[in-house]
């Protein structure tokens, strides 16, 4: 009881020491809670692609947990250092180390309880607040962020582990030191950090690996699997980069006497070097958080804003009907049905293609197996159909093909399907009146060949390899402009029919057993609605996460400013006494603060640059791949985040100036 009293009195009395630590603990808790809440939200399951996103969120949660741990240790050590004198005094006044450890553990336990309670309450309030703001912003409810006890439980467990770790750290550091050391610790200076070449090299290497993974992503599904590994490498690399590379660089600058012994460089280089070890963790955290903000916001905003473009690319006309049989039969059938129901089909475009075969494509060799990194869908089109669509006639030999890589890229000179090889005669970037985008997540390749007779063996082989029940054949796509009302009516009528290869199309009658698939109809408006619901949901999640990350960043920055301000105050006083003018002091502080602020954002932009390719692939996983638009939205996002970051910088550096100039 006595120790509980002592511990709670300690916290109350040195609130100024405990408050920053508590604040960071609570904010970290909230960040984790919001991600977990989204993860367990029922709305996520309803989202198309929600499950892959749930995987990403899970990864994000792991990253953030690692993060919270690092940051909590960082701020706890800072707190501990300030309090060691107090502990030393207890020790000298007669408390045993064991008792002091007990006090510090009790203190931590109290802060843990405070974190869980405050974090949960604030987290729920914040979630509601986000919800209201974004509904207002997007005009519609796309995502229901529901509070779940499970989420709170999970995050509480995570934080219990972190606090346990802190307790271990505290008891070790108290036991290790003698009482005199405890007394002196607060005023102890730090030795200049050593530059460790190996760590610097390791940092650069792991950054390079992370970047390499990001850049060499070949398909959307590949991106998903590599994403996490790349992220881990980049985080490790960033931390090592700040820890060792910057120290190495600063040491090098220090060795160059003519550079170092100039007033501005002298103060900045020496004080940066002095604090680099502590700085490294803080800077790495800020960098990673800013990068996460960029990635989340750019991905979701990019996804949201590319809906229209995507649909425009897909819908050559506002309605698309797919019939799984030859062009002749399909066309006649649709015309007949439309006429019977009095539905006009305006600006009709009809083309025929083989069914898709899906497999792994590498170095021009197609294999009938499911390999995520190189999954490709291939459709064949005859030269006749190509001519009919574009008006251009092409002359192809039997073993020649023209390739159109609609999604992904293709640079080989030939393409091989089992025993059948086609030499690539030409590569084209688009076909008139033909969609330039697919609804599937894989790459998409269209091959134009001389005639159906070359294709059928390939299709048969693929059909056999995949063990399908139905033989692969040809399907027909009919695009036309139809009013929304007529499209609905047509869809209803078409669902009564079944198509089975080249057999005549039959109407479903009761009592008669027939097989086949119904013709499908997609309309622009309906898809648009669907996409908006799905992309809007992601946008909501993205905005929530982005906002949370920015909040975390702001907190870390503020924490750094306050703690460093206290340390720097005395230095600047001395400098002024020795003969640095007030103006020079301000200049020095400004450039020092500026560097500390814009270094993370610069590194984050580099990170993002490498992540961009990955993001592009990830977005195409959900269907959209417009490069220039994504570039634009990314640039816009970076600009907005940078602006918010600048405001945070302005505000927090004011706090720093206040402390230093007081």
């Amino acid at each position: 009881m006595f120790y509980i009293k002592l511990a709670s009195r300690n916290i109350r009395q040195s609130m100024s020491n405990f408050l920053p630590f508590c604040l960071s603990s609570v904010v970290m808790f909230i960040m984790n809670l919001i991600i977990t809440t989204i993860l367990f939200s029922p709305s996520l399951k309803k989202l198309q692609g929600g499950s892959s996103f749930a995987v990403l969120l899970g990864l994000g949660l792991i990253v953030l947990t690692i993060f919270a741990t690092i940051f909590m240790i960082y701020s706890y050590r800072f707190l501990l250092k300030r309090r060691t004198k107090e502990f030393g005094l207890y020790n000298i006044l007669g408390l045993k180390k064991r008792h002091i450890v007990r006090i510090s553990i009790l203190e931590l336990f109290m802060m843990f309880l405070a974190t869980v309670i405050a974090g949960t309450v604030l987290g729920i309030i914040l979630a509601k607040f986000f919800y209201l703001i974004f509904i207002h912003l997007l005009g519609e409810n796309y995502f229901d962020l529901q509070w779940s006890p499970l989420a709170v439980m999970i995050v509480t467990v995570i934080f219990a582990c972190i606090y346990l770790l802190l307790m271990i750290i505290s008891s070790f550091s108290i036991r290790r030191q003698s009482s005199l050391e405890l007394l002196k610790n607060a005023s102890k200076g730090e030795k200049e950090p050593k530059s460790r070449g190996i760590l610097a090299l390791l940092g650069i290497v792991s950054l390079a690996i992370g970047y390499y993974l990001a850049v060499t992503v070949t398909s959307p599904l590949d991106a998903l699997t590599k994403f996490f590994i790349a992220v881990l490498f980049v985080i490790l690399g960033t931390l090592l980069f700040y820890l060792s590379f910057t120290i190495w660089l600063l040491k090098r600058q220090k060795k160059n006497k003519d550079y170092y012994y100039q007033p501005k460089h002298f103060i900045i280089v020496s004080s940066l070097l002095y604090r680099m070890k502590q700085n490294a963790v803080g800077l790495a955290n800020i960098t990673i958080l800013v990068t996460m903000t960029f990635v989340t916001l750019a991905t979701t905003v990019g996804l949201y804003s590319s809906i229209n473009g995507f649909l425009d690319d897909y819908f050559v006309r506002n309605t698309i009907i797919n019939v799984n049989t030859t062009q002749q039969q399909s066309n006649a059938f649709i015309d007949q049905v439309a006429e019977k129901n009095g539905i006009p089909l305006k600006h009709k475009i009809v083309y025929e293609m083989s069914n898709s075969i899906i497999g792994a494509m590498s170095h021009g060799k197609f294999e009938n197996k499911q390999k995520l990194s190189s999954l490709t869908a291939v459709n064949f089109m005859t030269a006749d159909t190509y001519k009919q669509l574009t008006g251009k006639s092409v002359h192809l030999k039997d073993n020649e093909a023209i390739v159109f890589p609609a999604v992904g890229s293709f640079n080989e000179s030939s393409v091989q399907f089992g025993h059948h090889t086609f030499n690539i005669k030409d590569k084209i970037n688009g076909i008139r009146n033909f969609p330039s985008i697919s609804l599937t997540a894989s790459n998409w390749l269209i091959l134009i060949v001389n005639s159906k007779s070359q294709i059928q063996p390939v299709l048969d082989a693929a059909s056999k390899a995949s063990g399908r029940q139905y033989a692969l054949g040809f399907e027909t796509t009919i695009s036309a402009d139809v009013t929304a009302k007529d499209a609905k009516k047509l869809n209803l009528v078409l669902s009564d029919y079944l198509v089975d290869g080249n057999k005549p199309i039959q109407r479903i009658d009761e009592g008669k057993m027939i097989s086949g698939t119904a013709p499908s109809l997609r309309s622009y408006d309906e898809m648009h609605q669907q996409f908006l619901a799905f992309a809007g949901g992601f946008l909501f999640i993205g905005l929530v996460l982005g906002f949370t990350f920015i909040l975390g960043t702001a907190l870390i920055i503020y924490y750094k400013q306050i703690s460093e301000g206290e340390q720097d105050k005395r230095s600047f006083e001395i400098l002024q006494e020795v003969g640095l003018s007030g103006e020079e002091v301000r200049q020095t502080i400004r450039s020092q603060v500026l560097l500390m602020f814009f270094l993370p954002i610069a590194v984050a932009i580099v990170h993002f640059g490498f992540a961009f390719i990955m993001i592009q692939k990830l977005i195409s996983l959900f269907g959209a791949t417009r490069f220039s638009l994504l570039l634009l939205t990314s640039a816009g996002t970076i600009a907005v985040v940078a602006a918010i970051y600048y405001i945070i910088y302005k505000q927090t550096s004011r706090a720093y100036y206040r402390i230093v100039e007081r």
Binding site: K257, Y261, F266, S270, Y274, L575, V578
Partner: protein, 306 residues
């Protein structure tokens, strides 16, 4: 030695002049003190000593009144302080805490401005220097020794000493040359690559002295330089300051310690914002001089004055 320029002043033999003045002073002062320091005779006396030639440092009728912004209450830190210092002198200003000695030092150091009066160093009134020129003035004309050393933890010992020269954009070659000369004299040559937290108090203060001297200042100001040191380190440091003074360096020290003051050539006593007495050491031993200082302190600052 430390200053080539100061060799010239050595010809004047300040010690001898000091002795002459001292005789006159002691006599007049005893009477003066009994009648309290506001006696106009005393002020006149100080003016007399100044009259003959332009002094190196002249402090004229300094007054400093502190007034907090929201209260009408005024605190007079310095009432009317005048004295002068010759080049190459070593002066201690003694007083108890609250006597105004720190305020006086801050004004001399240009860290504070007086309410009225002037401080003239080498025919330049330092109280009139513009705010934006002050830092440069401090850097080039003054050297500081503080009681808590004021070394920067972020810099190595070498860089701490270089600091004022770096701020003055001195060439690296020049800085190194000066340090090479200075370091052996202060016995810090082995410490140059260490960090300040690795040093003892005495070592730190020697480093601080090196930092004060490396700019070759006209005047070194020391604020209780022995306050944070133990007896032995204090003795060593005071001996060191004396040695430095003998090379021609003018030193002005503020202290409340009779031991510290006894190493100076002249001691000024300050109380309630006035300088009301001074003693010359002449050729006496520090120990003997200290006894006189102690006695004066007891007599003048103690019961009699009140």
């Amino acid at each position: 030695m430390f200053h080539d320029a100061m060799k010239d002043s050595g010809a004047r033999d300040p010690q001898k002049t000091g002795l002459l003045q001292s005789d006159k002073f002691v006599r007049l002062d005893i009477r003066n003190v009994r009648e309290h320091s506001l006696n106009p005779l005393y002020t006149k006396l100080i003016d007399d000593t100044r009259g003959a030639k332009t002094m190196f440092l002249q402090v004229n009728h300094l007054q400093k009144i502190f007034q907090t912004r929201f209260s009408k209450e005024k605190t007079v830190a310095l009432q009317d302080v005048s004295f002068s210092v010759e080049e190459g002198e070593y002066i201690a200003i003694m007083g108890e805490s609250g006597s105004g000695k720190t305020t006086l030092l801050n004004i001399l150091a240009t860290l504070d401005k007086p309410t009225s009066g002037s401080v003239i160093l080498n025919s330049q009134d330092v109280t009139k220097i513009k705010e934006n020129k002050l830092a440069e003035f401090r850097r080039t004309h003054l050297g500081f020794i503080f009681q808590d050393f004021n070394l920067l933890d972020t810099l190595s010992v070498r860089d701490n000493i270089f600091l004022p020269l770096v701020l003055g954009r001195e060439k690296v070659r020049v800085m190194e040359q000066r340090l090479d000369q200075l370091a052996p004299k202060l016995n810090i040559a082995d410490l140059l690559n260490k960090q300040p937290f690795e040093l003892s108090g005495g070592q730190k203060q020697r480093v601080a002295i090196a930092r004060a001297l490396i700019t070759e200042p006209e005047l070194v100001l020391a604020d209780e330089p022995t306050a944070a040191l133990d007896f032995k380190n204090s003795e060593n440091l005071l001996a060191l300051l004396e040695e430095i003074n003998e090379t021609g360096q003018t030193i002005l020290m503020v202290t409340h310690s009779a031991i510290a003051a006894s190493h100076a050539k002249r001691v000024l006593f300050i109380k309630d914002g006035h300088i009301f007495h001074q003693l010359y050491r002449a050729n006496r031993e520090a120990a003997t001089f200290m006894q006189e200082i102690s006695m004066t302190m007891t007599n003048l600052l103690g019961t009699e004055v009140r």
